[in-house]
Symmetry: C2
Subunit: 342 residues, 2 copies
């Protein structure tokens, strides 16, 4: 089949995917028998555009780069919003990459639901809907005989979720420990190099790792959402955000870092989920890891997860946790997985 794709949202991540698709069209056809057209894009800021025959991605990307509205495009459909695009565009697969609202799921939750109900596949890097009701959404996908995939919600394109769900199938995953937020790991790395917290944060902001308001990262909110996702997907729990205890890194001082080093240890902000009888317990908090722990050597903005299993003991994956190309790529691997299954 030729996939007919519609982008809902076309910010950094959406553009990241679009660039890969534009560059690799031939390669994807040859190697994976994956053929596609992008028929629609709808973005709150950039406007919307639709062509059932397929848009010219290079042209679209150029327009965006030059700061033009997509709605000026000859194929613009007089400003379809997200829901109209999902409803009216002749697309079989929705790429949901709008902004994340962890608390309610936000408009993204409606997008995903509408698409699945209409029998359209959804691939998404949006943590909101997964955190809010992943089980319901996966059931909805099943009922409508379509797919809902979200590898990029944790560790961007680094295969955290597929690793656990597919490659470790048949293992019981008894414990998860992860470094799932690159900003805080970068700050802790710099503090170990001798910077104070404020200076390290500033540096993270200068490099674009941390936002102007860094609360979501440094208070552990981002990590809390990812811990919830891992708990509810990999461990099959049915938890809410507030069930995941949370403590960020703002309480850690340079003194703490130095003392840990003297003990041969290292502070990391750890996402932690553990099976305790029939229940899953989850939290985010700074942990002092001994330097021979597989996560202790993960430095800078790099992310990593250790799955503790019955048959293999510890299996650790290390890779990037963010980035335009890295997160954009996660949507491609989801699309290729759907292509294998249809």
């Amino acid at each position: 089949m030729t996939f007919k794709l519609a982008f809902i949202g076309f910010g950094v991540v959406g553009q990241g995917l679009a660039e890969i698709l534009a560059e690799k069209r031939e390669r994807l056809r040859e190697k994976y028998d994956f053929e596609f057209e992008v028929v629609a894009i709808s973005d709150m800021k950039l406007g919307s555009v639709y062509d059932p025959e397929g848009l010219d991605l290079d042209e679209i990307l150029k327009k965006v780069e030059e700061g033009d509205s997509l709605s000026d495009h000859p194929d613009a459909e007089n400003g379809w919003d997200s829901l109209e695009t999902i409803e009216k565009a002749d697309a079989d697969t929705i790429i949901e990459v709008t902004f994340t609202d962890m608390e309610t799921g936000g408009p993204a939750l409606d997008h995903v639901k509408k698409a699945l109900k209409m029998g359209k596949n959804v691939v998404s890097t949006n943590k909101g809907p997964v955190a809010q009701e992943v089980k319901g959404l996966l059931d909805l996908a099943d009922e409508n005989d379509v797919h809902y995939k979200f590898e990029g919600t944790v560790l961007s394109g680094t295969p955290a979720i597929n690793l656990a769900m597919k490659n470790l199938a048949g293992c019981e995953i008894e414990e998860i420990k992860g470094i799932v937020n690159g900003t805080t790991n970068y700050i802790l790395t710099k503090m170990e190099d001798g910077m104070g917290y404020e200076e390290a944060l500033q540096k993270a902001q200068d490099l674009g790792y941390a936002e102007a308001d860094p609360t979501g990262d440094v208070e552990g909110v981002d990590a809390q959402g990812k811990t919830l996702i891992l708990s509810n997907t990999v461990m099959g729990a049915d938890m809410d955000l507030e069930d995941v205890d949370r403590e960020g890194i703002t309480g850690l001082t340079s003194q703490d870092i130095k003392e840990a080093e003297k003990e041969g240890k290292r502070w990391k902000l750890i996402a932690h989920a553990e099976k305790d009888g029939g229940e899953v317990k989850a939290k985010v908090s700074p942990e002092k890891l001994s330097k021979d722990h597989p996560l202790a050597g993960v430095m800078g903005p790099t992310n990593a997860i250790t799955y503790s299993t019955d048959h293999l003991n510890d299996v650790t994956i290390i890779g990037p946790g963010a980035g335009k190309e890295e997160t954009g790529y996660s949507l491609l691997v989801d699309l290729l997985a759907i292509n294998e299954e249809v």
Copy 2:
């Protein structure tokens, strides 16, 4: 479907899988909709047994533990050998776990070919056939509309091959560096702790990591075979064993180890494959890694591979590289993957 499994070979790895299957029958049915009967076992030393209705695995494992021949079993079929078992047993899936012959592929190559030609799936931890002619065998599987899977040939059940082929689909893997032999990594770890080579080797032998004749490990032969497999599967090369340059760890002295430490580095036996233009170049040799390389912290018998890719840069997987349960499990994950696809 209910899988009808036949074990060709029933040594440590086969028994490892059988133990997991016996223990997890209910769980596998519930969680993965995977149902099976083991209908035949044929082993050079233990004899052979066949029951089209399914053998009692607990009973078989007890017999083996007590040192009894399987051929004494009431369902014994007067000593079918491997090829007869593949031909005559009413099995749809062959578990090929006989001894490895890297040079020729050995009898295992005939087993795999015969099974695939007869339209039976093959799951195997046997490096011989994969190293000899993986492409031909995968084509043969395709032609006969069955599967040939071999996750356990590299890093035992740690998902090295599936990670590269499935989870990193759409990425170009440009370079592979791995610690793929646990024995040599254990010896190097102990040498760093201050032991001499001979003492470290003795300790590895005492613990069962190294065999009485350790040549295959310490001269890099085992790693060479795995490097060939990674090159020919993950990188799509078409190389022979002699195309992989090989140097083991026997040339490393305690002095070398100490000097590296002074430079903040660490010797590892590295499996290395790299795309160079249209060609793949592969070798096994000791490399001095800087301590911030993701493989540098992998100590003891643990294995790891770093895949360098276009979209994600480096992705590293760390986990066990050997063991009865770990390698036995690799066959289960292969079976579950086939179950998903049929």
